[in-house]
């Protein structure tokens, strides 16, 4: 067995060694933190995804050790593989930040601001993206585009106005189900996710399109308007499922299961696909073996009120002085406020340096 060659790649001055064939985005994910470009359309579990949203654009300032020429344009880091000695600039490049700001503006241009009534709010990648990279206001002064409402069946609700055309759901249906029944119709800014002749989506793995959707375009009809995600508590659970792994995340409030989703990793990607039966029909605690609370990033609104990994500040002052701290200046004894002989209304203001001279 031949050893797979390792390539050295430097992203924002941090060098990491990755196997050949790794994309820049995945190399950056190995480093983690701020140097990881955001990705709205790339999904590591879906073959062929990526390259479309352009939020992960990075600058390649040095092509490779052999050919050190920089790449002329910004490249989509999710679809560009690393070369040995490549140097990449993400947040250290003004050009990248500027282009990314532009992309976020384009994505938000026609996106409705209906977060207050959107079920995705709180776990929406577009919210995170616009919070981190977007501008505070919009320069777009025209009507946002709208679409005819389309019914995708009993389980999945489609809000085409919210869609950013990442194609993730198309790849999911193509790669998980036998026959893809939905796709992108039309082109340009009136392109839409749709089915032929209003067919409903009823494959037993089609529920996964809800999990891969980065925005609120595809949401769970059985959870519709039931609760805000940050009021529900995520719990990892499993069951013996004949069709899928049965490893899920329950979103509970008290003993009530509001929603079942697949487990997601730190990049918001599904760890294991689950079937429709687990997702839509098993909504009682007795259906599940509960493993314990899920780990949610502390930056997420879902983990509000849970202070994970927060350390209490050590009390240093005892150790240093060894006795109770002494009040160095007792303001109460100096201020006029505590003098009963002075009328409060006569006090002009806070204690002044002049007040101390006479003492």
């Amino acid at each position: 067995m031949s050893e797979q060659p390792k390539f050295k790649v430097t992203i924002d001055n941090i060098t990491v060694e990755v196997p050949a064939g790794t994309t820049i985005l995945n190399a950056a994910r190995m480093i983690g933190g701020d140097v990881t470009p955001p990705a709205m359309c790339y999904y590591s579990k879906l073959e062929g995804s990526g390259g479309k949203c352009r939020t992960c654009l990075v600058e390649v300032s040095k092509g490779s050790e052999k050919d050190p020429r920089p790449m002329p344009k910004l490249v989509a880091s999710c679809r560009t593989t690393v070369m040995d000695g490549m140097e990449v600039k993400n947040i250290t490049s003004e050009k990248v930040l500027d282009a990314r700001k532009g992309v976020v503006e384009f994505l938000l241009m026609n996106h409705p601001l209906d977060c207050p009534v959107c079920d995705q709010a709180g776990e929406c990648h577009l919210q995170d993206l616009s919070y981190e990279h977007g501008a505070a206001t919009t320069r777009y002064e025209f009507d946002r585009r709208t679409f005819e409402k389309e019914d995708l069946g009993d389980y999945i609700s489609l809000h085409m106005t919210r869609c950013i055309l990442c194609y993730r759901c198309v790849y999911t249906a193509e790669q998980l189900t036998n026959q893809r029944e939905h796709g992108v119709l039309d082109r340009g800014d009136h392109a839409s996710i749709s089915t032929l002749l209003g067919k409903s989506l009823d494959n037993e793995f089609i529920g996964n399109v809800i999990d891969v959707c980065p925005v609120g375009a595809l949401t769970d009809k059985t959870f519709r308007f039931k609760n805000r995600v940050w009021f529900t508590k995520p719990v990892d659970a499993h069951r013996d499922c004949p069709t899928c792994s049965g490893k899920v995340r329950l979103w509970m409030r008290g003993d009530e299961v509001f929603r079942v989703t697949a487990r997601k990793d730190q990049w918001g990607e599904v760890e294991e696909w689950i079937c429709n039966d687990c997702r839509f029909h098993k909504k009682e605690t007795k259906d599940w073996v509960i493993e314990g609370p899920s780990k949610i990033s502390r930056h997420s609104v879902i983990s509000q009120g849970h202070y994970v990994g927060v350390k209490k500040a050590p009390v240093l002052i005892d150790k240093v002085i060894g006795k109770d701290p002494k009040l160095l200046m007792d303001i109460h004894s100096i201020s006029d406020v505590n003098r009963p002989e002075v009328e409060l209304s006569k006090i002009a203001g806070p204690a002044h340096s002049d007040d101390f001279k006479n003492e």
């Binding site: 479309k52 910004l74 679809r79």
Partner: protein
């Protein structure tokens, strides 16, 4: 100097017998006595550059073609000529279809493609019939099919109609469409030379490029390279439209000056109706527009000629591109704002919607330009337009984003005060519906004007 259109006006040249009588299919006879490598070498020597718009050297493109054992290779002819202002391929295919077929056979032999496709735009419905008739005639006379000229080489040519999308002129979108899928451009790499049609190595060439292979083989690469100037070798077809006395197809050897091309009677014949030249798009709608003063002379004051290098002299700051050869001429009455709006509408309509900057940005630019054109513009809109085009350009999957951004950028760069005039004199601009005349060429004032 005519190579491609040498016999274009012979009656019946569309049919095999006449075409053969005028020296047709000589290049196939000659090519089959050479090895494929020699043909590629000959094309390399000729310095032929892709005629579809980008101007990439054809010989180099051919030599990039991967040749793995046991995997078929394909040659695809890009006849999806949808660029506004470009109609040279249509002329070639409609009047001398056998020239293209001949070029295709030679190129297929050079590249080892046993199945060659012509992807033609859906709107050219009648040309499909012409091509299929030509293919049938060629097959009947033994130029196609099994064991051509006893060389052991088999070749079939198929014509595939597109659905009328501009984006399918982009080579990877064309390949997707040819495979029967939605015409979305692929993300490169891998390039078609490695993984093209059905993941097999593929070369996609423009109609005119493949037709030019015929004179290259007939006369030799060096003879072809001696025509033209510098790296602009051979002849180029230009489709001229707009405000000229004689619009149409011209074959030039790229040594003429732009001034000669527009004003001499041999070519366009000048501007009609006693008007003056205002601006020109020298290479199809997506290349930058140039005002008269920069068109006739470069920024350095040299005479601009009709070659790849000279037209792009000065970069985008003061130059343009040869592009696909769609030469659009504007006289002093034409409004640049309206023209830019029309182009923005076109690119908005034709964007495939795959990547966000192009999908959203083209529509935004169109809406702003529409506001300006119809008297609802604001001064800040001009800077906003500039910023939008800057954020589209270079950040998209395929060149359509660039093609949408460049015309807007060039119009603002060179005609900014026309935009401002449009905004401040909304009523007048709308009623007269034409732009500022002061950009017009002061030298070529027709007598009596």
């Amino acid at each position: 100097m005519k190579l491609l259109l040498e016999h274009a006006h012979v009656e019946g040249i569309r049919y095999y017998d006449t075409y053969r009588k005028h020296g047709g299919y000589r290049s196939v006879e000659k090519a089959f006595k050479m090895t494929p490598e020699e043909i590629v070498e000959e094309v390399k020597k000729s310095g032929l550059r892709g005629r579809g718009g980008a101007g990439f050297p054809t010989g180099m493109k051919w030599s990039f073609l991967a040749k793995p054992e046991g995997v078929p290779r394909h040659l695809v002819c890009n006849a999806d000529e949808s660029e506004p202002g470009t109609f040279k391929d249509r002329y070639l295919m409609e009047f001398i279809p056998h020239l293209l077929i001949e070029g295709l056979i030679v190129s297929s032999f050079a590249l080892g493609s046993n199945m060659t496709y012509i992807y033609i735009r859906g709107e050219y419905a009648w040309i499909v019939d012409i091509l299929e008739q030509a293919i049938a005639e060629a097959k009947n006379n033994g130029w196609l099919g099994k064991n051509i000229l006893n060389s052991g080489f088999d070749c079939e040519i198929y014509v595939q109609r597109g659905g009328g999308a501009y984006i399918c002129g982009e080579e990877t979108a064309l390949i997707e469409s040819l495979e029967g899928k939605r015409g979305n451009p692929r993300i490169k790499p891998p390039f078609p030379a490695i993984q093209g049609v059905w993941m097999r190595p593929t070369v996609v060439n423009n109609v005119e490029t493949l037709a030019a292979v015929v004179p290259i083989i007939n006369n030799g690469g060096e003879a072809y390279a001696s025509i033209g100037v510098g790296k602009s070798t051979g002849t180029k077809l230009l489709s001229v439209c707009g405000n000229v006395k004689k619009p149409g197809i011209y074959e030039i050897d790229m040594t003429q000056s732009v001034e000669e091309f527009i004003f001499s009677d041999e070519y366009c014949g000048g501007i009609p109706n006693g008007k003056r030249l205002k601006a020109c798009i020298p290479g199809g709608s997506s290349v930058p527009i140039l005002p008269a003063n920069l068109l006739l002379k470069t920024a350095k004051g040299e005479t601009r000629t009709m070659s790849y290098e000279s037209l792009s002299d000065g970069g985008f700051a003061s130059g343009s591109m040869m592009g696909s050869g769609g030469f659009i001429v504007f006289d002093e009455d034409q409004c640049v704002v309206r023209h830019t709006m029309t182009l923005a509408r076109f690119y908005n309509h034709e964007s495939c919607g795959q990547c966000s900057p192009c999908r959203e940005g083209t529509g935004w630019m169109y809406k702003i330009l529409k506001n300006i054109e119809y008297g609802k513009g604001k001064m800040s809109d001009i800077d906003l337009l500039w910023d939008i085009q800057r954020k589209i350009e270079g950040n998209t999957i395929c060149p359509l984003g660039d093609a949408a951004a460049w015309p807007v950028a060039a119009a603002i760069r060179h005609f900014r005060d026309e935009f401002e005039w449009h905004i401040t004199n909304a009523d007048e601009a709308q009623n007269r519906n034409y732009g500022l005349a002061h950009y017009a060429d002061p030298i070529h004032v027709p007598a009596g004007a």
